[in-house]
Symmetry: C2
């Protein structure tokens, strides 16, 4: 039972940007959903486990998300949004040259906040049901396109003399990082984030020999 600060005499309702109760509750329930998936897996995540994790009743989850499916879809969207915020911030903070940008976006992918056993399990749980849940599919497509384009743009800047090879290299890098995510998920005792990052950098150095020094550790 968490304390709701109803003590404020008059919340400024007129302010549009002011996050209302609804937005706060939605986020509270979405976070509880992701925690429940981390704790119990997607298959054993029920409205009951979510409600317990959020310290709320089941009824309120349905009230805000209409159905369990609606809730899970929004949880997946939140997961992607967190992921996107992370790599976009990394790009924004990186020095303004393509090699540094590429390095930043790869590092972001293996960031401890983004790429850990718990979160990877959540990704794979959703991906495992994607074919049978059209809503998941829509969200996945929407978010992934953006990042693939970003990587490709950077690679073309990195190798302006051969855009075709740059596109190929960007696809290899994207795929190899996906592959390492999979290995980190399936074989957590054989792979580590550090190892995956190091090996990805070695591949990048191999692909962009002119910029190898930008990917030293």
């Amino acid at each position: 039972m968490q304390t709701l600060s109803n003590s404020d005499p008059k919340p400024p309702k007129e302010r549009k940007e002011r996050k209302g109760n609804a937005d706060m509750r939605r986020r509270q329930i979405l976070d509880a959903t992701l925690r429940s998936i981390i704790l119990s897996g997607l298959a054993k995540t029920t409205l009951a486990t979510v409600a317990a994790e959020a310290d709320l009743s089941q009824g309120v989850a349905i009230f805000y998300f209409k159905s369990k499916n609606g809730l899970l879809s929004e949880a997946l969207r939140e997961l992607y949004q967190n992921y996107e915020d992370n790599w976009e911030a990394a790009l924004a903070n990186a020095p303004n040259n393509p090699a540094a940008k590429l390095r930043a976006i790869i590092e972001a992918d293996f960031d401890a906040e983004i790429c850990n056993n718990d979160t990877l399990a959540v990704w794979f749980a959703f991906w495992g049901e994607q074919k049978f849940t059209p809503q998941y599919s829509k969200i996945t497509n929407q978010y992934d396109q953006k990042r693939a384009n970003a990587i490709e743009d950077i690679c073309i800047q990195l190798l302006p003399s051969d855009p075709e090879k740059a596109k190929l290299a960007s696809d290899w890098i994207d795929s190899v990082t996906d592959g390492y995510w999979q290995k980190l998920h399936l074989f957590p005792q054989s792979y580590s984030r550090e190892m995956a990052l190091r090996r990805t950098f070695l591949l990048v150095q191999f692909l962009f020999t002119d910029h190898a020094q930008a990917f030293e550790l």
Copy 2:
């Protein structure tokens, strides 16, 4: 209702290798399980859907596999076994030189029988629950080790002068193919088996320039 050939007057029980009724039933139910996952997804696969797919009662599934979890674990094992049989056969049939072997094992990975939307969805369904189902984990580890070693051995033969680089290359190839599987599963409209195979070969040509001609299409 499939016809059981009970008409044989006396089945030769003494022959050990003769598959008994039990083995036949087990396989029948396991195949029905995989079909059910393909059709309905793992989340909606129940003893009822499996029994319907097998044209048997639920009782018999429990009789042979003790529990739903036991059934699903064995289904995953069958999936891995099919996969392993495929790449091992490809290796056995390939010309006896490392480049041809590597080519064969990669081609096997993108074979239409192995790598199609339906089967990929089954793989990802199991992987999505792996962290919460220790039995899956055991099976995954057991089977994957073998294949990773096979690829590494071949790569070392391909580049005997630099075993460290060969190991790295084998890891990249393994990861990039995993990554393409993921893309094929998540974005079936943007990626095709042919595209994935072609791009994997291009990477291999890039990694083993001395054997590039062995990976032309």
